[in-house]
């Protein structure tokens, strides 16, 4: 038992080193430049723009899912789009996170009554952060990224506390 505390997956050393890695992970969130609808203008284009400049936080866009850590689902997902979203998610290497941006990605938004629309992207891929708004302002997305950073850090913190 005591040995387990020193060496195993719950050892202090392991968690601390994991914490260090999480520090790197949360400060280097590359998002997939994959805008579906209106939210892409606010969440992806304004994000890179001069006023909001997410690059300050090390949040940068990559075109290929293989090189990204975060997928921002920015828009309505319908029956034709869902397999594509799923496939892109599968193509991303672990660890990966998903932000459902806007009402459409969260619940289907104003279009949820239409039978072709999927009511929330959580039916397709697991979602970490939900951002309300139609569309959310770029500031909301900044806040979402901060929440995601907290979430990444909190996992190891919880394990540390549970010891």
């Amino acid at each position: 038992m005591a040995l387990d505390k020193l060496t195993g997956e719950n050892s202090l050393l392991f968690i601390r080193s994991e914490q260090l890695l999480d520090l790197a992970r949360k400060n280097s969130l590359f998002y997939l430049s994959f805008g579906i609808a209106c939210c892409a203008i606010e969440g992806l284009m304004s994000a890179g723009g001069p006023r909001f400049d997410y690059d300050r936080f090390g949040i940068f866009h990559r075109g290929s899912p293989r090189q990204s850590d975060v997928m921002i689902v920015a828009g309505t997902v319908n029956r034709k789009m869902a397999p594509v979203v799923k496939r892109l998610y599968d193509q991303m290497p672990e660890p990966k996170w998903v932000i459902a941006m806007g009402a459409c990605a969260c619940t289907g938004g104003p279009f949820r009554e239409y039978p072709n629309v999927i009511m929330g992207v959580d039916k397709v891929v697991p979602v970490d952060i939900w951002v309300p708004g139609c569309p959310p302002r770029p500031e909301s997305m900044q806040y979402a990224f901060m929440q995601l950073q907290d979430k990444i850090a909190s996992k190891t913190q919880e394990r540390l506390d549970a010891r």
Binding site: L21, A24, N27, D53, D55, R56, G58, E94
Partner: protein, 327 residues
């Protein structure tokens, strides 16, 4: 043992320089692009965002190592190293100070250009092995482009070589003690910067990874540290061509009018690297400002304009040197 140790230390030092260069250059790129684009660039991770690239590298190291199902496993695995190793080898003959080089080769320049021309093989390998059509197109573009631009690159360095009478980079630099070769060889210098920009696939010649056309081109299917290696090789190539330009045209470690000053001479490596960084800054400037040229225009420009001009410059300079200067 005694013979091996200094060489090993030198090689390790060079590897260290390469890695530090990569990290610093990526940070510099993001900052320079940020400023050019009226943004700020990374400033939250560490003081002034200095640790940004470190965080990126550590993150890339801990990412899942993906291997596409349909990829040619062996080639896919080895391609990043085939890209990376030549760009490391190219550091070896670089002379940073009067006696500061990993190895002093009489044919240093030839060696450097020879290993640089191995890189497209790795790029093509990466493009092919990924079994993605976008990667393949990117790899093919890289191969065609490098074959086209190797020729003017080689021809453009002949002018300084003729003036110095040597292929040893240290000797070429020493020959520029009083006159930087950029002044007599201005045409060769212009050809050199264009060809070097194309050879390292920088904007406006970034055909192989053309962000808006091929997404990330040959590196499309690479994630994690393999992608990191490709990225690092790109930046180390940038440093190599900038350093080579410094050595060939801007007097290497010499400062103007202070060539004999012992303090300036002792600061040689710093001056050399500073000059190279100024060159890199110009490359980044172009990257931030220019659109991308089209692939057929690129090749036509190489074969129809650059190669004839550089060839005739070699002939003209040979005549000048033989008939006017040496007589």
């Amino acid at each position: 043992m005694n013979a091996v140790a200094p060489i090993a230390i030198r090689i390790l030092a060079m590897l260290g320089l390469l890695l530090v260069n990569g990290v610093v250059l990526i940070y510099m790129l993001r900052k320079v692009l940020g400023r050019l684009h009226i943004r700020i660039g990374p400033n939250r991770v560490g003081p002034f965002g200095l640790l940004q690239t470190v965080a990126d590298v550590v993150k890339l190291l801990t990412k899942e190592d993906l291997m596409p199902d349909s990829a040619d496993k062996w080639l896919f695995w080895i391609a990043p190293f085939v890209v990376f190793v030549p760009s490391f080898l190219a550091y070896l003959p670089l002379a940073f100070g009067p006696n500061l080089a990993v190895t002093r080769l009489d044919t240093g320049l030839l060696f450097l250009l020879a290993v640089l021309s191995l890189i497209p093989i790795g790029v093509l390998m990466a493009g092919w092995a990924s079994n993605s059509k976008w990667s393949l197109v990117g790899g093919m573009r890289a191969a065609g482009q490098q074959i086209a631009y190797e020729v003017p690159l080689l021809l453009s360095v002949l002018g300084p070589v003729m003036m110095a009478g040597s292929l040893d980079l240290s000797k070429i630099i020493e020959a520029q003690k009083n006159l930087w070769f950029v002044f007599p060889q201005f045409i060769a210098f212009i050809i050199y910067i264009i060809a070097a920009q194309a050879d390292t696939q920088q904007t406006p010649f970034d055909m192989s990874e053309a962000e808006s056309e091929l997404i990330t081109g040959f590196a499309n299917e690479y994630g994690g540290m393999r992608f990191g290696f490709l990225f690092l090789a790109e930046f180390s190539n940038m440093f190599i061509v900038a350093a080579l330009g410094t050595a060939l045209f801007f007097g290497g470690w010499y400062l103007p009018f202070l060539a004999d000053n012992p303090i300036a001479l002792s600061l040689g490596p710093v001056i050399f690297i500073a000059k190279a960084y100024i060159g890199i800054f110009v490359m980044m400037w172009a990257r931030g400002a220019l659109p991308r040229i089209r692939v057929d225009q690129l090749l036509a420009f190489a074969w129809k304009a650059l190669i004839p001009i550089s060839l005739s410059w070699v002939v003209i300079w040979a005549c000048i040197q033989r008939l006017v200067l040496v007589r």
